[in-house]
């Protein structure tokens, strides 16, 4: 019964949390938020799915793209830092500013770097949550196997 509620919550809440994560990430340079926080929020969204559907199902759903995020994020972050070499040295920021519909928009390598940070955080958290969740499930399976063995021996 609880699982059904959880699934419902998961279905509604997960996309919302993801949106919040993206929002936090985008405003991070100016207001509280940023890569770390956004990454952690996204990770908690996925944790919700794990709670609702189990680790194995979550891996099937998010695994292929969520887990490699750790490596990808690190690559992006280093890449962003290396881009600075173009502008005079490692980690030198590059900013592109232009206005659109009266709003000033800016894109820079620090933001790209922040994106890398977010990816790494998501990837790392997901790895652990999925692994431990799966380990828990496997332990249950192992336990039943042992119990069945014991029962067999009793007979």
């Amino acid at each position: 019964m609880i699982e059904i509620y959880l699934r419902l919550v998961d279905k509604i809440l997960t996309p919302v949390i993801f949106l919040i994560a993206i929002f936090l990430f985008l405003r991070g340079h100016d207001m509280p938020g940023g890569g770390f926080i956004a990454g952690l929020v996204a990770a908690s969204a996925i944790e919700l799915t794990i709670l609702a559907r189990g680790a194995q199902a979550t891996r099937d759903r998010y695994g292929p793209w969520a887990v490699p995020l750790a490596g990808a994020g690190l690559t992006i972050a280093v890449g962003a830092a290396l881009l600075g070499m173009y502008n005079g040295g490692f980690f030198r920021s590059i900013w592109l500013e232009f206005s659109m519909a009266g709003e000033k928009l800016k894109f820079g390598t620090p933001q790209l770097f922040d994106l890398g940070v977010m990816f790494v955080v998501v990837g790392m958290a997901i790895t652990y949550l999925l692994r431990l969740g799966e380990a828990a499930e496997a332990a249950v399976t192992e336990q039943t196997r042992l119990e069945r063995q014991r029962e067999d021996r009793h007979r």
Partner: protein, 539 residues
Amino acid sequence: MSLHPTVITLPVAIPLLLGAVGMFLQFMQFPRRLQIQQTLVGVGVLVNLAVTVFLLVFVLNGEPVAYQMGLWTPPFGITVYLDALSAIMLVMVALLSVLIFPFALATIDSERAQLGFFPMMLFLLMGANGAFLTGDLFNLYVFYEVMLMASFVLLTVGGTPSQLNGGIRYVVLNLVGSMMLLLAAGVTYGTLGTLNMAHIAVRMNDAPYLVQAMIAGLLLIAFGAKAAVFPVFFWLPSSYHTPHPAVTALFSGVLTKVGMYSMYRVFPLFFPWLLNQWQPLLMTIAGLTMVVGVLGAFAQPTIRRLLSFHIISQIGYMVMGLAVAMTPNPYGIGFGLALAILFLVHNQIVKTALLLGGGAVELEMGTGKLNELGGLVRLKPLQATVFFIAAFSLAGFPPTSGFIGKLGLLEVTFSAGQWAIAGVSVFVSLLTTMSMIRLWQYIFWGKPHRQPLTQRRQTAPNYAWMTVAPVIALVALSLTLGLVAQPALDMVQTAANQAIDRAAYVKAVGPTLTEQDLRIAPPEWGLTAASQATELAGR
């Protein structure tokens, strides 16, 4: 010759980039990812070696180089600083990684390889390089953590119970050490208001002794815990014998040496006067580290346990060199530090050679227990020869690098009037010889007790060469360092002079710093090493 200072970030950037790609592949379940990872690591270590050698040559011919991360004004951004000392360390670590790589390639089992062993090597390299290069106290903490995390993973990959037990000790004891470093950085910021090392060096002059003692003490514990000095070395013998031999070799060449490097970097820069004032303390630590380490080795029943304790014992010599670094002596101030650096380099070479040689024996015989080995001199004459030279180099026999280091340290401690520690070092040298003889005789002489594992899968076609050639190269290097000692001595002397030259450090980091930026006029500016000596004698 000029050089864009951003080049000095390459020893961090290259391994990090390649490692990140390797990590990405690791999680991607890419087919043939193992081969690609191995290629990446091979390229990474080679390019890293090339870059670091280039940097060393450059620094030896000229001034230290500093680069401001993101080109921010000095005390505010993070500074990366390269002088001869850090360049020597970079080259040594790069060289060791290049030599350990083929050994790992040949011997690592597929399980560990599949689990991301190879990218992890690059991350360890990156962490160490970052620690060597950084000119910022907090950044030093961060790179310590990178290095530690990489070593945690390398230590536990494979996950046998002994690895896990050793791993927990290793992790916890090192974490407590890192905590001290973080607190030291905190106290530094809280009292001096800055984290940039050059800036700290300038402001430390005016700090009350309370603050100096606290920062110095916390740093001593933190670095000491990393360098495995008495009495905070427990993590090392609990863990070094548990992982794959290639990992042990890599650790011995990198981890403790980073701790020593940090001491060499930070103490002469921040509080050179404390090196004299705390000399009795440092000498006691050095002596106890030597003695306890070597006696520990006496009690060990297996190859790598024994060699791990020798790592500790040899660290004592390096601390001894640091302790006399600022003592006036006929050879000139800083000569003790120069010899300590030389000894460190020698130790990296020889200890790695021994661990690789011993590791190969363990892998081939299926055990590291001394009393189950024997008679290998007939079976493996080449391995035996190089192991013999390495063992006696560690014991300090001429004409190897060990002799030069031992002789130099003896001369400098005697001439600094430190008779007690010199005596202890000579005695420990004898004990080291005894221990090395024991190791050698148990493994290579006597009657063979068991046959090599024949069924063991040898992962590489030219397994034999890939395991022996690195040891041969290292032993040749040790002999070269011994026979062609003067260039090496000149090099370490340059390194030591740069390391104790606070004015040059500050000047290199902040040529644009105005006194207003620094807030406090640095009384040390313009002082050369020689005039520092007279000043120190006064303190």
